[in-house]
Amino acid sequence: MAQEILERNVEKPNISFDGGDSLAIDPTKARLISKRRHTTLPQWATAWIVLIPALIFLVLFMFYPIVNTFFMAFIQDFRWVNGAGSFALGNFINALSQPCQSWDTTTGICEVYNILPTFGFGNFAIVLTDPVFPKTILNTLELVVIEVPLTILISLLIATFLNSIKALRGLFQTIFFLPYVTNTIALGLVFNMLFSSGQGGIMNIILNNLFGIDPINWLSPNVTTWSGAASRFSQGVVIVVYAIWNGLAFKILVFMSGLATIDKQYYDAAKIDGSSSFTIWRRITLPLLSPQILYITVTSFIGAFKMYTGVMAVYSSLNRGAYYFGGEKGEEWMPIVGWIYNQLDANFDKPGIAAAGSLVLLAIILLITLLQFAVSKKRVHY
């Protein structure tokens, strides 16, 4: 029974109201009695005509890339060559038909054979034994596990607090939304400067005044006169703080819209029963907000696993380019996506490895989504 209700609610969003096709007018007949003469196309023809523009883009830049990337990931020793047969399968067949790289000019016998591409899991083996890739998975996991729950908790608190005040509510709401309409790179620079490596960086001053902590070299890999190179921990702090700052806006907005739909009668009833504010929050707000919390949890985890710009932006003003993520070699906090783009940019003639990396990312995302839906079946109240 409960399952049935759940499914019905999931499939039908509450907003759709159907006018009903139950009217006694049949549109096809209506066309016959119409006085204006129109050569109207049948619906299916119109449908395919209006779908054409979208379909062209979808096929070229979405469906085909998914299939192609999938394919490339499973071809070992795949070398991408521009020109005819640039799509993976064509290239693959091309390469197979050219087994020889150079011939002995006099005898015509093959001297050097090409390494022929083969199907298999070779790319995945390369990716998983790569010196950096497994580390990027751990990096991403660490950042996600710290950042996402913190952001959700803080935004939940802010949203419930905002919901319970009247004065200044609009102002606070606008302020909390501001990070959403900013440029990630631009604000990354500002965070870099707030956590300035200088002794007087604002964050250093605040920490010094409040807790008497010595100035910290937050991000710079350079050893300065007064401090060593930035530690992994201090860099992680900056990344997480920036991620939280960046991530609150959207979550607060969604929670606020969820809170607005909760019936005030529940709260009145609880107050009459003399429940404390915390009990009300725990027993009424949280359960009734659980669909939004599920939605935010799923999207945040997926989004966080795809983090790239936010991490890179924190380091952007160190002038090390778009693939620098701290440390000596720029790998200290490199996220999965950073590794994929780095691979693609560095050896785009061997896209199989980047493709395999992106498939690993897809697998992680699918796994987490499934896990969360499995958990939510027990916990979410619709």
């Binding site: 209006v50 523009p53 440029n183 002038n319």
Partner: protein, 317 residues
């Protein structure tokens, strides 16, 4: 609080209750204010420090000398540098450099072009999905939704090859057409279209109106708020796009001519590493300001549309 008065046995209990609620309210406002400050600090820092000259900036950031933010140190020089088309090297010779005006122009073209393409494809496709009946509709739609799960990186790898194949690198085509369709916008608009009562369609059919006419004259006007939201989110997305332009349009040479196809985000990245901003962080901050300020103005003008659209989407360019 008057409605609660009857539940209290005596005055002192009522007073205790009132004191408790007031303390709670105060704590609540303190919490909100702290986080509001956390949100605002970077903006305040950015605005204040972008207007002060280099030496004042150094004192301000290195020694936290807040007095340097005073008006006597204010200058528009940082901004002038951002938009300058040349700078003087150490020997005093002028060296040409890309100006932010170029980046702005590039971004405007891409933003308007890609928004146009995205909106047209989304309106037409969602019309088909919401209003028309055809074979394979459900299958195609499920297929579309499934692609939303796939991380964009998978597509980027192949799209990059396609871009090279089509000789689109360093062209507007790569920036506009590759993201010319958004499954999410189709999905979002379809929902709005579906809320339009069927009676309107049937009435239009009685009048002999064709499907396309019905879309243009009835559905688009009714769905205008949603379309506006899509336009605004799409413009913002183009303004903030970074990864794809970095791969396909990050400066470069073509046909023996130097092309600068960078968009503002990439322009900002290249500003950070350019000679002009070397050791001059005030100019970098001014660059950040220049990229952020238009977004803010945009937000203040279209607050309603943006917040409504975002609460449904969760996309950020």
């Amino acid at each position: 609080m008057a409605e609660h008065a009857m539940y209290f046995a005596n005055q002192s209990e009522l007073r205790a209750y009132k004191a408790k609620t007031i303390t709670l309210k105060v704590l609540l406002y303190i919490f909100l204010t702290i986080f509001a400050l956390f949100i605002l600090t970077p903006f305040i820092f950015m605005v204040a420090s972008s207007f002060i000259d280099a030496s004042a900036f150094e004192k301000f950031t290195l020694y936290a000398d807040f007095s340097k933010l005073g008006f006597e140190n204010w200058t528009f020089n940082n901004y002038a540098q951002i938009f300058a088309t040349s700078y003087l090297d150490s020997l005093g010779n002028p060296v040409a450099r890309p100006s932010f005006a170029q980046y702005f122009l590039n971004t405007f073209i891409v933003a308007i072009g890609s928004t146009l393409v995205t909106v047209v494809t989304a309106v037409l496709a969602s019309f088909a999905f919401a209003r028309l009946e055809f074979k394979g509709k459900d299958l195609l739609f499920t297929f579309l939704l499934a692609t939303m799960m796939v991380p964009g990186e998978m597509m980027v790898i192949t799209n990059y090859q396609t871009t090279i194949m089509l000789d689109w690198k360093f062209t507007f085509c790569a920036l506009i057409f590759v993201h010319g369709v958004s499954v999410f916008y189709i999905f979002y608009l379809r929902q709005t279209f579906q809320q339009i009562p069927n009676e309107l369609y049937l009435a239009a059919k009685v009048d002999g109106v064709s499907d396309i006419e019905y879309l243009v004259k009835v559905m688009i006007p009714i769905a205008m708020p949603t379309i506006m939201t899509i336009v605004i989110l799409s413009l913002m997305g183009a303004w903030n796009s970074f990864i794809w332009p970095t791969l396909v349009a990050n400066g470069g040479w073509k046909y023996n001519k130097k092309y600068d196809m960078r968009l503002v985000s990439n322009g900002l990245m290249s500003l950070f590493s350019s000679d002009i901003a070397k050791g001059q962080d005030a100019i970098k901050v001014a660059g950040s300001m220049v990229v952020t300020a238009p977004l803010f103005v945009f937000f203040l003008c279209f607050r309603k549309y943006i917040m409504r659209g975002v609460s449904r989407s969760g996309i950020k360019g």
